[in-house]
């Protein structure tokens, strides 16, 4: 390689260089003369370079092509070049040169077989003068981005933004175009168009190949991944506001389904499932959650403190977690500090919260209610009816307070304001960075008596001690206080629905006495929910600490030793106070005796302390190396120990307290004091390892293995090995795609491996005698022989299985990642087949009742989940608007592969049968309403002596009678697919986010209060006014009845497809409009940034499901559950 220097510097070597240059000039002429010959000698070029210097690449081209290379103007020309990544195989030198110099300020020509490199000629710029452009680069939230690359297109001019996101650059003319690029964001080009002050908003790139993803026991470049991994950033999650981070994951990670069972404050019952229901064992289906490297509790985090969340879905990525990974793994990283000056941020959100849906049109008109009741009582052959005199009291009320039309839903539901505060402090210097988050959530519930408050502190510290040692850690402190009623929110809802409209919760005489009933000779309702909400509220305090500390030592080049340890400590205290509260008749006079006392699940108080201590630590070595520039190798080996001890201590005084004002144990009657305490321990020990190898980042290989032992298994079956392997092929790095410009990245992935499950209770293989010294869950083994003292008792009440072994899940995964059109379009697709075998199941279906023992845990049955996941993203800038679209879809099919004899559950109307999804609906097929006696006679004989107006069911086995043998399997136990759409648009300082989430194909079995008439007196929906009568031959509703009374009730209450409702829905989950105050204004209020936004959550649901919200986890067949919340919120984020 020769440098032709026009003005050679006259320094020490100046003369020598000058001489050399002269020689070269001669050489050049010589070469030019031998042009023809040289051409024939021209060779092809093969290059595999990764971020190599231009100089190096050029010299390789020179060497391989055999063409001499001359650089005009020497060194300085190369000084502004960028490193080159190049993959060409046997191409002409021109192509290699094109690729090499593509984005460099250089150009080449081949003159007489010599490659001449020189600076690009400046564009026709002489006419226009250069100008200075200032600007600021921010992200979608308006936060300044530091260190963003700003370049003038087609030149070597460039700069980076400062700590405030500001830059200043001299452009050659006012038509210059700036190229703005930043890791993790989509690069964009901005035309200056004569403007001297620019604000540039960067859009997060949906798939940036250089993005680093957190994986098990380490990190990996996204480009190098071979497993099925999905990831979401904290900033993306926090576009919505929620108190529990798990809520925010909904629709963000394909393959992870998030279903919130209710909107109950602090008890949302969020069910997380990765790739379906993997097992029917008691080991459960919840994914394993890792926070900063150690097992932790996602819900204990403040969402604002989350940096990123990764989901490991297939065996390849999850098997490093071995026994815990059968249901997938969720990795959470908390926010780390940023080097630089202290930055303070404050977030505030207030959300006006109301139920998304309530049962519709219940009959809360007293006269209508009583008349319909009487009609139902006649149909149900039930003697208790309202008299005409009673009805007339309400028809022409002398006193509207005494004879009301009371809507009980108004009594327990209200609109409330939920507030969240977050204060963040971050900064660092001299290698030490810190991040502190302080959070507070005040969450009243839409249901009276319920509430939740949460205080959260998050500390992160990282320090680079010296060249070879780094240490740091994170600590989360969480304190939550939850108020609820002892039988739960669904029971409160049911109690409310069982009240009739003829009375309110408190007597109308102003005495403050609680109502029990109005006409007790006709009906006695369930518990008074208001009396419970005001007097019998449980209090639960939860104090949770999770911590993770690490020390990383660089032992040698590429060799790191990392030790990570920490513990989780949970202290949970529950007060269940059961006061004596009297309830009276609605018309009670002063001094009248109460009808009954409130049923609060007993009397006195029950105080329970639960605590668990869970230390975990691992230590591991990693080694990174590359050789021959094309083989990259990463090795990991480590060992981990875990220990969990959970204890409970319970104190009880179960007779009424002298006063309801004191609610501590020592204020209760001594005569009834009881206590209880237990301890449970388990331990795990593991060895794990991983190998990553790639050849030129084109062929990727990863192998994982974990060797685990759990104290939950007998010694001979204690250890198990969980291996996995995955392969990746980056097709776009192949020669045949070299010239395909529209395809930026195409990767094919495949993996297979085994995962385990051990979450099956602590001592299932040991035969034990259980103590139960007082009634707890209806059983006690103590016995008072003498009638004065109680003798402790024990019973060996369960069969143990000394031979149990691990449950194993084999996952096979095929996937592809595609980026198109300059990374504007990103696609990810996965197909998987997940087979769980040796399922650890309590063998109830195989253990005869005559054993007199509870069933042992055995390895039994196989279950398969197959499905696909699609994630598609698109980013575009149209004028001043930048637009980002993203859609996800997941579809899963569950099937019991082997199970044995079918198991039918009559309480949930489901069946477990081989070849069918687990828990398939199993019930009679509803055909319609019998319209006349002839139809009854003509149809196969039905149960419960049907009359016209009864329901008609199908005789599916054709034996002429309808009974349990006619039950059929009905699909719909699981959604066919879940999907989501997310759109973000930014225009100047405004941004808009719209998020839809949907689920298709699931059915819910709904019965009881709110849908069937008069269950414990519950007001029916108004449509029952139009139920079947001889003169009104309804084809949709049978004759009205009192649930639980008479043949019509038995007939209509028969489990059938009538009660199976399509729970498919599409929800407008979130809309947010934000405004970022430009910095020039923000600084006047002493802020570096200010953002305000308005958001709506659960704004609208498109569904055919009747009345209530279809998004729920069906825990029983009841129609009502605590509603989900609709939230209109206002938020502010200030950065100082």
């Amino acid at each position: 390689m020769y440098f032709l220097t026009k003005s050679a510097p006259v320094r020490k070597q100046g003369v020598a260089k000058l001489l050399l240059a002269m020689k070269l000039t001669v050489a050049l002429i010589t070469v030019a003369l031998t042009h023809v010959a040289a051409k024939s000698l021209s060779q092809t070029v093969t290059l595999h370079e990764k971020r190599a210097s231009v100089q190096k690449v050029l010299s390789s081209i020179e060497k391989q092509s055999g063409m001499p290379l001359i650089i005009v103007n020497g060194h300085s020309v190369l000084s502004n070049t960028e490193p080159v990544t190049l993959d060409v195989d046997g191409v002409k030198p021109e192509i290699a040169l094109n690729k090499c110099l593509q984005s460099q300020p250089l150009t080449y020509s081949i003159i007489a077989g010599t490659i001449v490199i020189k600076r690009k000629e400046p564009a026709t710029a002489e006419a226009q003068p250069p100008m200075d452009v200032r600007g600021k680069v921010v992200d979608a939230k308006g936060e300044p981005l530091i260190g963003v690359n700003v370049r003038v297109k087609g030149t070597s001019l460039g700069t980076v933004t400062d700590v405030n996101g500001n830059f200043k650059i001299r452009v050659p003319n006012d038509q210059a175009i700036l190229t703005v690029s930043y890791v993790g964001f989509t690069s964009q080009e901005v035309a200056v168009k004569g403007k001297a002050d620019l604000t540039i908003t960067m859009v997060v790139s949906a798939s940036n190949l250089n993005e680093v993803v957190v994986v098990g026991y380490g990190t990996q470049r996204k480009a190098d991944l071979t497993g099925a991994v999905a990831t979401v950033s904290g900033s993306d999650l926090n576009k919505r506001v929620a108190t529990d981070p798990a809520q925010l994951l909904q629709g963000k990670l394909p393959g992870l389904s998030v279903v919130q069972s209710s909107g109950e404050a602090g008890n949302e019952g969020i069910s997380l499932r990765i790739r379906g229901t993997g097992t029917f064992s008691s080991a459960g289906n919840s994914p394993f959650v890792i926070i900063d490297g150690l097992p932790g509790n996602l819900s204990a985090l403040d969402p604002q403190n989350i940096e990123s969340v990764t989901v490991l879905k297939d065996a390849a990525s999850a098997s490093i977690y071995g026994t815990r990974a059968a249901n997938g793994v969720i990795l959470v990283t908390t926010k780390k500090g940023k080097e630089g000056k202290v930055e303070l941020s404050y977030d505030y959100n207030i959300g006006v919260t109301s139920p998304t849906a309530l049962p519709q049109n219940l009959i809360y008109n007293s006269v209508q209610y009583m008349e319909l009741w009487n009609q139902a009582a006649t149909n149900s052959n039930y003697p208790n009816k309202f008299t005409q005199a009673q009805i007339d009291l309400y028809r022409n009320p002398s006193n509207k307070d005494l004879y009301p039309n009371y809507n009980w839903l108004d009594a327990i539901f209200s609109t409330v304001a939920v507030q969240t505060h977050h204060l963040g402090i971050t900064g660092g210097s001299n290698g030490t960075t810190y991040n502190v988050g302080l959070g507070y959530v005040d969450q009243p519930d839409i249901m009276v008596g319920y509430s939740y408050k949460k205080y959260n502190i998050q500390l992160d510290l990282n320090s680079k001690v010296n060249k070879w040692a780094t240490f740091g850690g994170s600590v989360t402190l969480n304190s939550g206080e939850r108020h609820y009623t002892s039988r739960g929110s669904q029971d409160q809802f049911l109690s409310t629905l069982s009240q009739s409209p003829m009375y309110g919760p408190v007597l109308p005489d102003g005495s403050g006495r609680y109502v029990n009933s109005v006409f007790p000779s006709v009906q006695t309702p369930n518990k008074n929910p208001i009396a419970i909400a005001r007097n019998a509220v449980n209090k639960q305090n939860d104090y949770f600490i999770q911590s993770s500390f690490f020390l990383n030592i660089n032992l040698a080049k590429g060799l790191d030793w990392r030790t990570n340890g920490g513990f989780n400590f949970d202290f949970n205290k529950t007060y269940d106070f059961k006061p004596v509260i009297y309830q009276y008749n609605w018309f009670a006079k002063p001094g009248d005796a109460p009808e009954r006392s409130l049923d609060v699940n007993g009397q006195g108080i029950d105080v329970t302390d639960n605590n668990s201590f869970y230390p975990v630590a691992f230590t591991q070595l990693t080694y990174n190396t590359s050789f021959h520039n094309s083989h990259n190798l990463k090795l990991l080996a480590g060992t981990q120990v875990e220990y969990n001890k959970s204890q409970s201590l319970e104190g009880i005084r179960n007779l009424p307290f002298a006063t309801n004002d004191l609610q501590e144990l020592n204020a209760g009657p001594v005569a009834s004091q009881l206590n209880n305490g237990t301890t449970n321990i388990y331990a795990l020990r593991s060895y794990y390892g991983r190998l990553n190898y790639d050849y030129r980042e084109k062929y990727l290989l990863e192998a994982n293995a974990r060797y685990d032992a759990s104290s939950r298994f007998p010694e001979n079956n204690r250890w198990a090995f969980f291996p996995s392997v995955s392969l990746g092929w980056v097709v776009t790095k192949e020669r045949f795609l070299n010239n395909v410009n529209w395809l930026d990245n195409l990767k094919l992935r495949g993996s297979i491996g085994n995962l385990g499950n051990q979450n099956i209770g602590n001592y299932p293989y040991q035969e034990t005698y259980n103590f139960r010294s007082y009634y707890n869950g209806n059983t006690s083994y103590a016995y008072p022989f003498t009638g004065t003292t109680v003798t402790s008792g024990v019973v060996n009440n369960a069969l143990s299985n000394p031979n149990i072994k691990w449950e194993t899940t084999r996952v096979f995964d095929l996937g592809t990642d595609i980026s198109l059109a300059n990374n504007r379009v990103n696609l990810s697709f996965d197909w998987y087949d997940k087979l769980t075998s040796d399922i650890l199941e309590t063998a109830t279906p195989l253990t005869p009742l005559y054993y007199g023992l509870s069933a042992p845990v055995i390895n039994y049955g196989k279950m398969r989940n197959r499905g696909i996941e699609i994630d598609a993203g698109y980013n575009q800038r149209i004028g001043a608007v930048s637009l980002s679209l993203r859609g996800t879809l997941q579809a899963n099919q569950n099937k019991l592969v082997s199970y044995g004899a079918p198991a039918i559950s009559t309480s949930t109307n489901t069946i477990n049968q081989e070849g069918q999804p687990y828990g398939s609906f199993y019930m009679l097929k509803y055909l319609g309403i019998f319209q006349n006696a002839a139809e009854v006679t003509a149809s196969p004989s039905q149960q419960y002596n049907p009359q016209p107006g009864y329901m008609k069911f199908a005789d599916t086995n054709g034996d002429g009678k309808v009974d349990d043998n006619d039950r059929v399997i009905v699909p719909g136990a699981y959604p066919k697919f879940d999907y989501s759409f997310n759109t973000t648009a930014t225009w100047k300082d405004f941004d808009l986010t719209v998020f839809f989430y949907g689920s298709q194909g699931q059915k819910l079995y709904v019965s009881g209060w709110g849908i069937q008439p008069f269950n414990q007196g519950s007001p029916p929906p108004a449509e029952w006014m139009n139920a079947w009568t001889p003169s009104n031959p309804s084809t949709t509703l049978p004759m009205v009845y009192i649930l639980g009374q008479g043949n019509i009730s038995s007939n209509a209450n028969t489990a059938s497809t009538y009660y199976l409702k399509d729970a498919s829905f599409l929800k407008l989950k979130n809309v947010q409009v934000g405004y970022n105050l430009p910095q020039r204004f923000a600084k006047y209020v002493f802020m570096s940034a200010l953002r305000i936004y308005f958001a709506g959550d659960n704004l609208h649901t498109f569904t055919s499901f009747p009345g209530l919200d279809p998004e729920r986890v069906a825990s029983n067949t009841r129609y009502v559950a605590h509603p989900q919340n609709r939230v209109y919120s206002f938020g502010i984020r200030a950065t100082f």
Partner: protein
């Protein structure tokens, strides 16, 4: 050098940390006793014995007004709802003749509770020998536990006929899952063998909370009577009478069922014992606040007037004051309208939806039930001397007709203080005496859970039950197959799943 030193100390620390706890993976339950360390001393036998007895009061203790545990302990009354004595909405399907393998409730609970108790007994008997007790002490433990096992097998075989009979501790051995139902006669033999062992080894004393010889003999009488083996029934009952360890309680009929009268009561021969706050029942408030168990007018009308005549013929009966001048046992056993309850308010049946018009009072102190969730600790009387006298009379009348000993047995019961009913008319025929004994048995043992099994023994279930109309207007029926119940459907499903072809459903279901 310093670096090497620091690193090596970390390495050593890490090795220590991982290796420090070699036994970490051997974890035993800290709150339960592992079988390997159990059966070491007499205290273990006492613990296990208490566990076995606990089944006599299990289930019926829930603090709410839920329906759990009905049929056992203080919930034993619920058996009467299957007869003409009472009604329970919870068991109307069984009572009305629509019992099915999936009907649940008593039909399932009786099966599972019995086998749970039996298994606890078998485990005890298999292991108690390991302790090294004195021979005397060992036999006494064995005798007590064999009595309990016989009790539960007797309940099982009366309800289900042929039942799986196991006298060994069940293990995980798959052969155990292939057992068939043993013929009832064999089951009865086993029961009698257990009971005679118990009777011969248990102390011959008054009842003190543990089963005694009299308890075992009393149940032997019941078994013989149920087999219509009147000779042995009469002889066994006579043994109890002549040994003189028990007598009729003179402290008031109602107090037999309330706590203060129950300790050292000479009439009680076996009971399920309760004690607050550890072992309590919800009897007081459950029978008071809910209408889930209601005596029927059929029973109430069967109580004689004080002159010993039925209400249809007695001049003492006034339909306007129907509960006056009646056998005192009526108001001691049944809560009638207008009587004060809940601490002082009059009982109005409609106010709690008691459509039959009555509530249970036997073993119930409804005045104590001032609030929901009160805890009751009156013992449930399973066997008492009056029952033995009635069984003797029944058996002796079948053997020898109404001799003086038969008259004495019945008249002693009628004549006791607080009852004071006139003696039976003299010179009754055997058949008339049979009727009188059956009537006396219904009244004396009303709501104590006996009548269902009495009707079964007299083969009157099929006669009487179809005559009953329930408060919800349903007419009861009694298909003959109902004399034996179906076992729970799950048992059939399990037999199918494990390939147990020997196990069959009760005929007719």
């Amino acid at each position: 050098m310093k670096k090497i030193f620091t690193i090596s100390s970390f390495v050593i620390a890490a090795i220590l940390f991982v290796a420090c706890n070699k036994n970490m993976l051997d974890q035993n339950p800290p709150s339960d006793i592992g079988s390997s360390v159990f059966w070491k001393n007499q205290n273990d036998a006492d613990l296990a014995l208490a566990g076995i007895y606990s089944y006599f009061i299990q289930g019926f203790n829930y603090t709410s007004s839920g329906n759990t545990g009905q049929g056992f302990g203080a919930g034993t009354s619920y058996w009467e709802s299957l007869t003409d004595n009472a009604y329970s909405g919870a068991y109307s399907n069984i009572a009305q003749g629509s019992i099915t393998p999936t009907v649940g409730g008593l039909q399932t609970d009786a099966y599972t509770t019995s086998y749970r108790a039996i298994q606890a007994c078998n485990t005890f008997l298999n292991n108690v020998g390991k302790i090294g007790l004195s021979a005397n002490s060992l036999t006494q433990y064995q005798a007590e536990v064999r009595f309990v096992r016989a009790y539960w097998y007797f309940l099982l075989t009366q309800l289900y006929g042929d039942v799986v009979l196991t006298t060994q501790q069940i293990t995980i051995d798959p052969a155990n899952s292939k057992l068939g139902r043993t013929p009832k006669a064999v089951v009865i033999d086993t029961i009698l063998s257990d009971l005679s062992f118990a009777a011969s080894k248990l102390p011959n004393t008054a009842y003190n909370g543990h089963a005694v010889r009299g308890t075992a003999l009393g149940y032997m009488t019941k078994v013989y009577l149920a087999q219509h083996d009147y000779q042995r029934a009469a002889a066994t009952a006579n043994t109890i009478i002549s040994e003189g360890k028990f007598s009729l309680y003179t402290g008031g009929y109602r107090n037999l069922f309330l706590k203060p009268g129950q300790n050292n009561n000479p009439e009680i021969m076996f009971s399920g014992r309760y004690q607050v706050p550890t072992a309590y029942s919800p009897a007081d408030y459950l029978y008071t606040y809910s209408s889930s168990f209601q005596p029927l007018a059929y029973l109430v009308n069967d109580y004689e007037c004080k002159d010993g005549k039925p209400i249809t013929t007695s001049p003492l009966y006034n339909p306007a004051t129907p509960y006056a001048n009646r056998d005192p046992r009526l108001l001691a056993s049944v809560l009638t309208p207008g009587v004060l309850y809940k601490g002082g308010i009059p009982f109005v049946p409609a106010a709690i939806g008691a459509t039959a018009g009555f509530l249970n009072k036997k073993g119930v102190d409804s005045t104590r039930a001032t609030v929901i969730g009160t805890q009751s600790d009156q013992d449930w009387v399973y066997l008492r001397y009056a029952d033995v006298l009635l069984m003797y009379a029944e058996a002796q009348n079948e053997i020898a007709g109404p001799d003086a000993s038969v008259y004495k047995a019945i008249n002693d019961i009628r004549a006791r203080p607080s009852v004071n009913m006139p003696p039976l008319p003299a010179n009754l025929s055997q058949a008339d005496m049979r009727e009188k004994i059956r009537h006396e048995r219904r009244i004396e043992l009303a709501l104590e859970g006996q009548r269902y099994f009495d009707l079964k023994r007299w083969r009157l279930d099929r006669v009487i039950i179809p005559t009953i109309k329930d408060p919800n207007a349903a007419q009861r029926t009694f298909p003959l197959r109902d004399t034996l119940w179906p076992v729970p459907q799950t048992e059939i499903d399990i037999a199918r799943a494990v390939g147990n072809t020997a196990f069959k459903q009760t005929p007719g279901y």
